[in-house]
């Protein structure tokens, strides 16, 4: 008995001596937070030391960052909830473009933007539900179904609109609601913060979120305990589609026009943000804060490389490296968790 006790006492004291850093890393999204915080410190110190060469803290740069983050943020939040529920949506980039074009052309035809925008979101929700229905009804991998969706809605944009850009000219109230500013903070950035807080409560503090984690973590167990996992997944698909449309609204209100090709590749960036933020590709793991930090990290790195005038291909290579490192790290954590 005694030797066993002695043996089991050793690792315990080791965990007790665990450093403050170790404790942060052990928290959900703790590691990504550390990476993000260190990067911020380096950037801020760099900007203070070389204010002329490295304009990270200049108002212009901060505004650009605040305007860029919400679009990917909305996409990633939707994609992330769905990933935690155990499914993918590759079509969100195309849905984002399609719903934006729909909204812009309705406004051009004389409809109020306050009606056209909810219609765009409705279209996003319905496309998401369609993806979900096909996936669940036929028991297919959502990867394949939404790959079909990616191509289909990209084609639908060209069918509906042709390869020309659509101007978006809403009433001023609409513009200031989605592209104006409040106390110097960009409206779109306020929106994304509201969404992050809302999603955090939905996923981590609400019954629905618990069911999402249960469905993605062990569908058979969730089913056995009486959770309607099909409905949970369907709602998650709808959220992914709806948030894609929301991203479309924010982007369109900012730019004032829609390009038919603008959404290409965004679905992968959104999934990348989720992976960097600690979501498991197998579902059931992750946090909203993690997703948002993933988005922030992608945009901060992009921004820094642009400020340093690095050629464009460095961006992709950096993000790529980050994704793979994050995936390896998450895998290690998962393995430790399952051991």
């Amino acid at each position: 008995m005694t030797p066993i006790l002695a043996e089991s006492a050793a690792p315990r004291s080791r965990t007790r001596r665990q450093s403050f850093l170790g404790q942060i890393v052990a928290m959900p999204a703790g590691a990504i937070f550390l990476v993000f915080a260190s990067l911020q410190i380096v950037c801020i110190v760099g900007a203070l030391l070389y204010p002329d060469e490295f304009r990270y803290l200049s108002p212009q740069n901060l505004t650009i960052l605040m305007k860029a983050i919400p679009v990917l943020g909305c996409l990633a939040l939707g994609a992330g909830v769905l990933m935690i529920a155990g499914e993918f949506d590759l079509s969100i980039g195309s849905v984002y473009t399609f719903t934006a074009i729909l909204m812009a052309s309705l406004v051009e035809a004389g409809l109020s933007a306050f009606i056209a925008a909810p219609l765009g979101i409705l279209a996003g929700l319905m496309i998401g539900m369609l993806n979900g229905q096909i996936t669940l009804r036929f028991g297919l991998p959502s990867f394949i179904v939404t790959l079909g969706g990616l191509l289909f809605w990209r084609g639908a944009v060209l069918l509906y609109n042709g390869a020309v850009q659509v101007r978006f000219d809403p009433e001023p109230a609409f513009s200031s609601l989605f592209a104006g500013s409040l106390f110097g903070i960009n409206a779109a950035f306020i929106w994304i913060i509201l969404f992050v807080v809302g999603f955090h409560f939905l996923l981590h503090r609400h019954r629905f979120g618990n069911h999402v984690f249960a469905t993605g973590g062990n569908r058979a167990a969730a089913e056995a305990i009486g959770i309607n996992t099909g409905r949970v997944k369907l709602v998650a698909f709808a959220i992914a589609g709806g948030m894609a449309a929301m991203a479309g609204i924010l982007a369109t209100a900012r730019v004032g026009s829609v390009q038919p090709g603008q959404g290409a590749g965004l679905e992968l960036q959104a999934i990348a943000a989720c992976v960097i933020g600690g979501l498991s590709l197998r579902g059931g793991r992750g946090s909203i804060i993690g997703i948002f930090l993933g988005v922030l990290l992608i945009h901060t790195i992009t921004d820094v490389l642009l400020l340093l005038r690095a050629p464009g291909f460095y961006l992709d290579m950096f993000i790529a490296t980050l994704i793979v490192l994050a995936a390896i790290f998450n895998h290690l954590i998962e393995r430790r968790g399952l051991a």
Binding site: H206, R207, N210, G217, A222, G337
Partner: protein, 245 residues
């Protein structure tokens, strides 16, 4: 000792196409009784478990609970009747905490569906400390994925205890457990019996069954071949019936 029959199976047969898995099976479980459902591979034990938990419907015959005839069409029907099935690979979500697993699907929430986290955590802590003694779990916030097989089963049992289940259906509960964990689990079954919770121990392992069961039902080729009180039998007689019938 005449106690009420909590759960009864009446002449149940079950066929899957041409294959007859159960033939004319009848047995009962009394209140506060531990029944060992024994038999070799292919005797129909798993089909019986699935039938009682509502996954399969009988081809003929019926179940009754508290003397009333019932049909279970899905698992939640049996759960409502107070029957909790605890499978070998217990139905828990590894990536969620113990608290969240205990309340999974039955969360305590406010009017708007938001979780009453503190309350659930306190109940989970109490259940873990009082209802089931699980060695090595110090916090209900521990992720279930970090627990051992025995600890996981203890959590599943804790869930059943908290939601006032009356019959635990344990399907091969000891097959993945260490000796110490097995001991703890069997003690748990006895403790629950003291609180008038019945258990059906479905197992290969006659020695484990003999340790805790009051009565044994031995199955062979889809039907009951022996039904005996512990006082009237020996382990060698049980072995004979399992092996030779």
């Amino acid at each position: 000792m005449s106690r009420a029959n909590l759960l009864e199976l009446h002449n149940i047969s079950k066929s899957f196409g041409a294959l007859t898995a159960l033939r004319n099976l009848s047995f009962h479980v009394e209140e506060g009784e531990v029944v060992g459902l024994l038999g070799d591979n292919g005797a129909g034990k798993s089909t019986t478990v699935n039938l009682i938990s509502g996954i399969h419907k009988p081809t003929s015959g019926h179940l009754s609970v508290d003397g009333r005839k019932t049909t279970f069409t899905c698992r939640s029907d049996s759960a409502e009747a107070g029957i909790e099935t605890i499978y070998q690979h217990t139905a828990l979500v590894d990536s969620l905490s113990i608290t969240r697993n205990i309340f999974m699907g039955r969360e305590l929430t406010d009017r708007f569906g938001f979780l009453r986290q503190r309350e659930m955590r306190e109940i989970a802590m109490e259940v873990l400390q009082n209802a089931v003694h699980i060695s090595g779990i110090d916090s209900p916030d521990t992720l279930v994925g970090n627990l051992s097989g025995g600890q996981k089963q203890a959590v599943a049992i804790a869930r059943a205890v908290y939601f006032k289940k009356r019959v635990l259906l344990l399907d091969e509960p000891t097959s993945a457990l260490s000796v110490r964990e097995t001991e703890a689990l069997l003690n748990q079954v006895l403790k629950l019996k003291g609180e008038n919770v019945s258990s059906v121990l479905v197992t290969h392992n006659l020695y484990h069954a003999y340790q805790v069961c009051d009565r044994f039902v031995i199955m062979s080729h889809g039907t009951k071949v022996f039904d005996v009180q512990k006082a009237d039998t020996t382990i060698s007689q049980l072995t004979e019936y399992v092996v030779l019938t």
